[in-house]
């Protein structure tokens, strides 16, 4: 059983629900958020090892999440997912030290593998 904590931010409930179900299966503790604001607030209270965030969201978007997380909690890895392949966003995210970048639909197996690599990178 791992004690790693994963945060999912996506404004579509189905994405968070599916990710939570599959990642809990791996033994991670998972919390999901429909928008970034409460998610960032939650990060102040507790440490998360990996944040998986959607790119395009109302209010604070994924890039902003990446920026904030990397500023405040550099050890936390960020994985970004987008509704479509977006090269510009990918390049900017890479500059900001994103751990991984996926266009949707994301194969869950690949997301799991990416999270595993992110956790290894931490230690």
């Amino acid at each position: 059983m791992s004690n790693h904590r994963i945060m999912i931010i996506d404004d579509e409930k189905i994405v968070g629900d599916m990710a939570k179900l599959s990642l809990e299966q791996e033994g991670y503790g998972v919390e999901t958020f429909l928008n970034a604001e409460p998610a960032l607030k939650r990060l102040q209270e507790e440490k998360f090892d990996v944040v998986v965030t959607d790119y395009k969201m109302k209010g604070i978007d994924g890039m902003e999440v990446l920026k904030t997380v990397k500023d405040l909690y550099p050890a936390t890895q960020v994985i970004m997912i987008t509704a479509f392949a977006n090269l510009d966003a990918a390049i900017e995210a890479l500059r900001r030290d994103v751990h991984d970048f996926f266009p949707k639909p994301v194969k869950i197996k690949e997301l799991k593998a990416s999270i595993k690599r992110a956790l290894e990178k931490q230690h």
Partner: protein, 849 residues
């Protein structure tokens, strides 16, 4: 009118009046090829969507919208090209397309088709009313209409009535529902419950119910009462809400009494029990609309529940639980009911009978409502069904299962005249699928066994925790999280703790009860009828329960390997309401209902899905081509005589045959089409075509019966479905052998850039496991040749392009061999190991079975 329809009509206006014989066959052929291209494109999108929505991908609504837009365009193109080809011979196909499209858009946009009426009698129910009257009502109405089985007289009170009631009484305004689907506090639940219970019927609803009650009264011979029950739940009934909503039995035929019962059922939407269930599966109470069914009570001598397959032990068997009087005690798991196991595959013999000790029975009381009374002494240990009745129930169950293409959970009753009635039918939820992950059961040699293979499995799995022996139902709320609930009786009340307990073990009970249905939905390892578990196990003792097909084995202490193994197998995406909602749209897209072109239902009206439309188009396009060819326009249809009985008719559109202009029959030697020659050479390669009949086992037989009614009519005699349209460099071959279809479309010329091979294989007579095993074998072999492969269920699509002429010929020869070799291989391959062996053999040129 949509743009699509306008476009079609303008095309028809231009072509109308053009006489067939003036059209060149080449033009027809080019249209034919265009239809095929559209078809292939659409089918690939379907396969892609099936894959992505299958649970292995995170997807969002944009993906769904985008993919469906592509699919819509592709099928639209296919239809418009098909209409050109057939000169709009099937105008209803476009209508069906629009109907199916409408259904899909409702799923994507999450809108509900509003019901027109407040009350609908079962005999007035039509297609598309499912959302208005609920899955339960719709299923019964269909059983009555399509299968002509006895279903008591009944009417549905629709979701529109629900809306009317809720808004008339301003329920949503009066109670505070939290934002964002958060749990509803108990006080609000209670308030909503009371408001509904004491609400006022809107005048038009009152009038409609009053009219319906009078109508029932006028049609009823003799004394008559109603059963009033919910018909909520999902459209496909996959999640059943078994026992979660109130049912009011034996309601007098009096408008006020029926309205009171109606409100009682509605109010149960806001019971604590139901809300826990909904929360767990991710439903939002605000989205729930409840339809209600009001059905004439059967004066039941015997009633009960049956499962059309015994999923825990032997899928060839069906199980029946029965008791005297009304069936409530069986579904609530309170009676030691009679059990009958019937072998439905073969002779229909009863392979097991267990007569329960039926101390008490439930009857309708004269004042209305029901009463539990002691069973007359002489009936207590007497079997409540005679063999003839068991056989009749088995027949009904098979008919219903066949109609809905899925195993069923059926409530039934025999009245005092001995007539069988169907009271409810819903899909049976499969138990945990432990196979398929390739993980072996861990060994647990050192753990001490407390109970070995005891009871009847309800839900497979394993869990560890401390025993909580429930002596009184009021103690339910003190069960600690993670405990193993051990009780004497089972009860649907247990749903209150189902998110907390890790396993359930009961001394008595049946696997057909409501609790059992719920345990399967919640995937809680559960065993019932385990004898003396409440005595063998001690309160607070730590144990590990493993439930498998042989019942439960209970170990002392925590057996970590078992629990972890089970956890890896336990989570399933389809538990998520959001996921199911989206995936539900596949129901309108992927299933194939049109299988056999010789059956009457092979009409545009019978198309229920996009896949059906594509299949219809393909079949009729080929038929159109044959017909035109046979009418002697230019090319002609000739029979190809081969050394194997493949029964192929050839249409040559240019340079595909030598010297064949005046012949009805030709031989392989006269084929000059490069790709077809290669395929034939492979198909007739010595040893690849096995002509011995391979016996199907009962499961296979049932599975083919479920999909196509007449297995016997299928023999090699149907030449019209096997055909090849060819030119010198092109071949389009469609084959149907037994229950599988093959489409091969290939171009083979000197110019590698023009060359392609498209291979599609689908279906089979055997059960799904075996069929998909054959597909894996095909995928494995084609993979060796560099094909790009997609598989979904029992469909495989393989493509290869940009290959030199010699290589293409060589591969087509191999494909010819594969076509012959795999004809019956699904029935032969017993396990995944043999798959690997047969694949290796094939690649080495060894073709023995």
């Amino acid at each position: 009118m949509t743009k699509f329809a306008e476009k079609l009509n303008s095309i028809y206006r231009t072509i109308r009046g053009v006489r067939r014989d003036r059209e060149s066959f080449e033009l027809l052929f080019s249209r034919f090829r265009r239809v095929l291209d559209d078809n292939n494109k659409a089918l690939e999108i379907i396969t892609d969507m099936g894959d992505t929505l299958g649970g292995d991908y995170l997807f969002d609504i944009q993906y769904v919208r985008r993919s469906y837009a592509d699919l819509h365009a592709a099928v639209g193109e296919a239809i418009s090209d098909f209409d050109l080809l057939t000169r709009r011979r099937y105008p209803r196909l476009g209508d069906r397309f629009m109907d199916i499209d409408e259904g899909i858009r409702h799923v994507i946009d999450e809108t509900v088709i509003a019901a027109k009426d407040l009350v609908v009698f079962y005999d007035q129910v039509t297609d598309g009313m499912v959302q208005a009257i609920g899955g339960k009502n719709a299923g019964l109405a269909e059983i009555k209409k399509a299968l002509k089985l006895n279903v008591p007289d009944a009417f549905a009170v629709t979701t529109r009535a629900f809306d009317a009631f809720m808004s008339h009484n301003r329920i949503y305004q009066k109670i505070q529902l939290p934002e964002d689907g958060a749990p509803i506090p108990g006080a609000s639940l209670h308030e909503a419950h009371e408001l509904i219970l004491h609400g006022e019927m809107p005048p038009d609803l009152h009038h409609a119910v009053d009219k319906a009650v009078s109508r029932i009264r006028s049609r009823c011979k003799g004394p008559c009462a109603l059963a009033v029950r919910s018909s909520a739940g999902e459209e496909d009934g996959e999640f059943s809400f078994a026992g979660q909503f109130e049912t009011v039995l034996n309601v007098p035929l009096d408008t006020a009494a029926v309205e009171k019962a109606y409100r009682t059922v509605l109010a149960s939407l806001y019971s604590e029990k139901a809300s826990i269930y909904q929360k767990r599966l991710g439903y939002d109470l605000r989205d729930m609309k409840m339809a209600v069914g009001c059905m004439v009570m059967v004066d039941a001598a015997t009633s009960g529940v049956l499962y059309s397959i015994d999923q825990q032990r032997d899928r060839d068997m069906l199980i029946i639980n029965a008791t005297w009087g009304l069936g409530t005690s069986v579904v609530e798991g309170q009676t030691d009911a009679d059990l009958y196991v019937v072998n439905k595959g073969g002779t229909g013999e009863i392979v097991e009978t267990r007569t329960g000790m039926k101390d008490s029975m439930v009857i309708g009381s004269e004042q209305g409502g029901i009463a539990t009374v002691p069973t007359p002494q002489e009936l207590r240990m007497r079997s409540s069904l005679d063999p003839g009745q068991v056989a009749e129930l088995a027949r009904l169950a098979i008919a219903i299962e066949k109609h809905f293409h899925r195993p069923q959970d059926i409530e039934w009753a025999f009245d005092r005249q001995g007539r069988a009635f169907i009271l409810q039918a819903r899909p049976l939820r499969p138990p945990g699928e432990d196979t398929g992950t390739g993980m072996a059961e861990p060994r647990v040699a050192d753990a001490r066994v407390l109970v070995k293979n005891s009871g009847l499995a309800v839900q497979n799995g394993a869990a560890a925790g401390r025993v909580f022996i429930l002596k009184n139902i009021n103690d339910l709320d003190s069960i600690p999280r993670g405990a193993i609930l051990v009780a004497h009786h089972d009860s649907s009340q247990f749903v209150r703790v189902m998110t907390d307990v890790s396993a359930i073990v009961t001394d008595t009970g049946t696997p057909t009860s409501h609790m059992a249905a719920l345990c399967r939905e919640f995937r809680i390892p559960t065993v019932v009828n385990a004898g003396n578990a409440t005595q063998v196990l001690a309160h607070d003792q730590e144990i590990t329960v493993q439930v498998g097909n042989e019942g439960a084995t209970i170990y002392q202490g925590l057996v970590r390997q078992l629990v972890e193994h089970a956890r890896n197998n336990s989570v399933r995406m389809d538990e998520l309401a959001e996921f199911r909602k989206k995936r539900y749209l596949l129901r309108y897209i992927a299933p194939l209902n049109l299988v056999d072109p010789l059956r009457d239902e092979f009409t545009p009206q019978a198309c229920k899905t996009m896949h059906d439309i594509l299949r219809f188009i393909h079949e009729k396009s080929v038929a159109e081509l044959i017909e035109t060819a046979q009418s002697g326009v230019k090319a002609s249809a000739v029979r190809l005589d081969l050394t194997v009985p493949a029964g192929i008719t050839i249409i040559d559109v240019g340079g595909g045959l030598d010297n064949s202009s005046n012949l009805d029959h030709i031989t392989a030697g006269q084929v000059s089409s490069l790709p077809l020659r290669a395929v034939i050479s492979g198909m007739t390669f010595p040893g690849v075509w096995h002509s011995d009949a391979v016996p199907l086992n009962v499961n296979d037989f049932m599975s083919s019966m479920l999909r196509v009614p007449d297995i016997m009519s299928d023999n090699g005699g149907r030449v019209e479905s096997n055909m090849a349209v060819i030119s010198r460099e092109y071949a389009n071959v469609s084959l149907k052998f037994g229950y599988h279809f093959i489409i091969l479309d290939c171009f083979c010329s000197e110019n590698a850039r023009n060359n392609h091979i498209y291979f599609r294989f689908m279906g089979g007579a055997t059960d799904m496991t075996k069929r998909s095993r054959r597909l894996q074998l095909i995928a494995r072999i084609l993979g060796e040749y560099g094909f790009n492969i997609k598989t979904k269920g029992d469909l495989i699509i393989a493509r290869l392009a940009n290959i030199g002429k010699n290589e293409a010929e060589n591969i087509l020869d191999q494909i010819g061999r594969l076509i012959s070799y795999t004809r019956q291989l699904d029935a032969i391959m017993k396990d995944d190991k043999s798959l690997e062996r047969y694949a290796r053999n094939f690649l080495q040129g060894i073709y023995e079975y």
